[in-house]
């Protein structure tokens, strides 16, 4: 079989990804995590945080929950089922930081945990900040035009 033909054949015999099932669980688990986030936010607003000041403490609490589930080995299982439903919320960001931190402790506190802690989340922060920098420059240039 020619290489091109084999590549085509290999794609044909590949079991298909369960797109519909994955989408269903991503919706359910992602929705549930956002629901918890809304609960935290509403509760904080109830004790006096404003719509503006509530964001940071909500993020901290959600990150804590993500870290707790990661440390107890549950977040990994939640993602196997939920996929992006567990990865996309901020709890997934927390998982992406805490998992390598735990993972590389054997390689030492500095070269292991310290150096690898952003192995997974680093790209998100790097490109998020870079994009925000570009958009920020545009907004700065247009500061008289837009308000």
């Amino acid at each position: 079989m020619e290489k091109k033909e084999y590549q085509k054949r290999a794609r044909q015999v590949e079991p298909p990804r369960p797109v519909a099932r994955n989408a269903f669980w991503a919706f359910l688990i992602g929705g549930a995590i956002c629901l918890v986030g809304q609960g935290v936010q509403t509760a904080l607003q109830g004790v006096g945080y404003s719509e503006e000041t509530v964001k940071a403490p909500t993020a901290v609490i959600m990150v804590f929950l993500g870290a707790l589930f990661t440390a107890t080995g549950l977040y990994d299982r939640l993602t196997v089922l939920g996929g992006m439903g567990a990865s996309l919320p901020i709890t997934g960001f927390s998982n992406a930081v805490v998992a390598p931190a735990i993972e590389f402790r054997n390689e030492g506190a500095v070269m292991g945990t310290g150096a690898r802690i952003f192995q997974v989340a680093g790209p998100v922060i790097a490109y998020g900040l870079f994009a925000a920098f570009i958009v920020g420059i545009v907004r700065f240039a247009l500061r008289g035009v837009l308000s």
């Binding site: 994955n22 977040y75 998982n95 054997n106």
Partner: protein
């Protein structure tokens, strides 16, 4: 003894004129492997995946040492009786074999063939013994699911969905003792139970194949062409047909690679039918969530030691071909966008009364 003890018949095919004897073997398997169809046939079971060690790399090493120690004890040998150790694993710089050999003390030939390491080590052991310069050699390999995850994929606690084409690295280790036929007549060498004598009559060294596949989550498809090439060259070199074998055991093509291999062989009018079985499919049950099947250096070695060799020993089969396959990429070559080169080495074992 001279170099003519091994005849090079065709490209990469080695016929052993005085076939070395595969006298004993030992398998150590992890918990998930024990829950599979071959569960009760493993010699030793390890339930704790850390094995009381502080890292999974150390745990893998302990699996490896455990298999070699167990082999020496069932063979009634000491490490000092063994001339050479051919061993390898999946970790960077094959640290499992290298570090374990520090304590075992047998002169080491470190081997890397990814998941084909099992048959590569066995092939080299047979070559060494057949050359007449070595009386006794051990072939050994190990893999650990969690150390392989660290090596090839993501941090363990990081949530990542498994893909249906992905394979599950087996946790376990196996070691095989290959002896000069004259040596094993010595009274101090009890065979592993009564039964047939297992002879390694020939072998075929793999050629690296690359059909341009790039997905490390689908290694079975990448490796099938290597298995096909080696099987065809083995048949050609040995002058046998597939009907001469009761079992052609590939490892580890899984559920995706296995049908592709059948297709590639069928193109050459070779139809092994149910003789062709894959270690990656045999090691686990369908419901064990391993997706396309097992993999890892230990996978084919465990199936060989727990299923294939005992059947030969008991006289249920007379001839088999082990064709372990390996994916030779590294995480770095994958990230640089390169395709996956693969290899397969074949070892033919026959049972004689």
């Amino acid at each position: 003894m001279s170099a003519t003890q091994i005849a090079l018949a065709g490209r990469g095919h080695l016929a052993f004129k005085q076939p070395p004897v595969l006298t004993s073997w030992a398998t150590v398997a992890g918990k998930k492997e024990t829950e599979g169809p071959l569960g009760r046939h493993f010699d030793r079971i390890v339930r704790d995946e850390t094995m009381g060690e502080k890292s999974y790399e150390r745990a893998e090493r302990k699996l490896f040492t455990g298999a070699v120690d167990l082999l020496l004890s069932v063979a009634g040998r000491h490490a000092s009786d063994v001339d050479l150790l051919f061993a390898g694993d999946l970790l960077d710089q094959i640290v499992t074999a290298n570090f374990a050999a520090r304590d075992i003390g047998i002169p080491l030939v470190g081997v890397y063939g990814a998941c084909s390491t099992s048959s590569e080590a066995l092939l080299l052991s047979a070559m060494a013994v057949a050359s007449g310069s070595v009386r006794r050699a051990i072939a050994a390999t190990a893999s650990h699911h969690l150390s392989a995850e660290r090596q090839y994929r993501y941090p363990i606690e990081l949530g990542v969905q498994r893909l249906p084409t992905a394979q599950w690295t087996a946790t376990g280790a196996a070691a095989f003792l290959v002896e000069d036929p004259a040596e094993r007549e010595s009274p101090s060498a009890p065979a592993k139970g009564d039964g047939a004598t297992l002879r390694i009559v020939s072998a075929t060294v793999g050629r690296v194949q690359d059909y341009g596949l790039k997905d490390p989550n689908n290694m079975g498809a990448a490796m099938a062409p290597a298995a096909a090439d080696t099987i065809l060259r083995h048949l050609q070199g040995s002058g046998r047909s597939v009907e001469d074998f009761e079992l052609i055991l590939t490892g580890d093509l899984g559920r995706v690679g296995h049908p592709l291999l059948e297709e590639l062989l069928a193109e050459e009018r070779v139809h092994p039918r149910e003789r062709l079985q894959d270690a990656g499919i045999l090691l686990y049950r369908d419901d064990q969530k391993v997706d396309a099947g097992g993999s890892g250096a230990a996978c084919s070695a465990l199936v060989l030691g727990a299923m294939a060799l005992p059947r030969l020993r008991r006289g249920e089969m007379h001839r088999m071909l082990l064709v372990a396959t390996g994916s030779l990429h590294s995480p770095r070559t994958y990230q640089q966008g390169e395709s996956i080169p693969t290899i397969a080495h074949a070892v033919e074992v026959e049972a004689v009364r």
